[in-house]
């Protein structure tokens, strides 16, 4: 527990059965040592998983119910160019990147549990870097940085179920990566100021791992199948 927080504790220790000032409820029979924040984060993540579940189920229904998924130029009723296939190798690289940033996230938590602030800051920094690189990769995939992106190769939102579901699901996930990266940056700053302990790191970790977990499913359903 950081010095400033410990000082606060000394002034007014938690009354019997009540939360201490850092929001840590005493261990309960039902949820053990999980803090209120952790239970709340999990409830949020379950509800967020339903959002992704809804999008992925809609995608699954549209795709399994359609005779043609990728449209080709000259097809009956199709007036655009052939739709590009999705790049598997590049996104496999993005998947590996998110797995690496999940590992750096748990290393940050392990360092925080050891009260090693410098180590926590290092690993959180690497996790932030992973998030920024992933977002850059996704920008490149859509719009192109060193090569033309999908938007220029003929995958246009609104032209087909294939294009619309792709952009909707992946951008919804991209927004979660951006939010998670912002959350990590704020946590990094608060850690540098000595205002966090391992439960704060665990919370941001739960969100970040969830972002990785969702991408594992998106990568399979959208890109590989």
């Amino acid at each position: 527990m950081s010095a400033s927080v410990a000082a606060e504790h000394a002034d007014h220790p938690p009354a019997h059965g009540h939360k201490d000032d850092h929001g840590h409820a005493p261990p309960s029979d039902q949820y053990g040592t999980a803090t209120n924040g952790k239970i709340a984060m999990w409830l949020f993540l379950v509800s967020d998983a339903f959002s992704f579940g809804g999008l992925l189920i809609a995608y699954g229904i549209l795709r399994s119910g359609s005779h043609t998924w990728h449209h080709k130029a000259g097809e009956l009723g199709w007036k655009y160019a052939t739709e590009p296939k999705l790049g598997i190798n590049f996104t496999a690289g993005l998947t590996f990147l998110l797995i690496c940033s999940s590992v750096s996230m748990v290393m940050a938590y392990a360092a925080a549990a050891d009260k090693d602030r410098k180590g926590t800051l290092l690993w959180l920094g690497l996790t932030i870097l992973g998030g920024l690189l992933f977002l850059t990769g996704q920008y490149h995939e859509y719009f192109g940085i060193w090569a033309p992106g999908l938007t220029k190769e003929g995958l246009t939102f609104g032209h087909s179920a294939y294009a619309s579901t792709f952009y909707l699901v992946t951008s919804f996930h991209g927004l979660h990566v951006a939010t998670g990266t912002l959350y990590l940056i704020i946590t990094w700053i608060r850690t540098a100021r000595g205002k966090t302990d391992e439960t704060d790191i665990e919370l941001v970790g739960l969100f970040w791992h969830f972002v990785d977990l969702v991408w594992i499913l998106v990568f399979t359903f959208i890109y590989l199948l």
């Binding site: 999990w42 392990a110 590989l224």
Partner: protein
Amino acid sequence: MAHPSRKEYGFIFLVLTVLTALEVGVVYLHIGRLGLVTSLIGLAVTKAFLVGWFFMHLKSDSKSMKLTVAIPFMFPALYAFVLIAEATWRRIW
């Protein structure tokens, strides 16, 4: 809560990396559609479980916490199976 072991995290990282490589490999094997779908979904669910169980610490959480997370996830899985199977059946027949 049990102290997180870095060695365990390192091992899970290796497993996730191997499973990801397997996923990409399966796609290039050009096996039949059913084999592709079942193997890829199996690999994805395994990876998702590993992240939840080890990285999100469900492994060391209370039974109530595990149930709080696991039970709700059964419903999207059930809806997905029923609705996608129905859409597929309608297309085939």
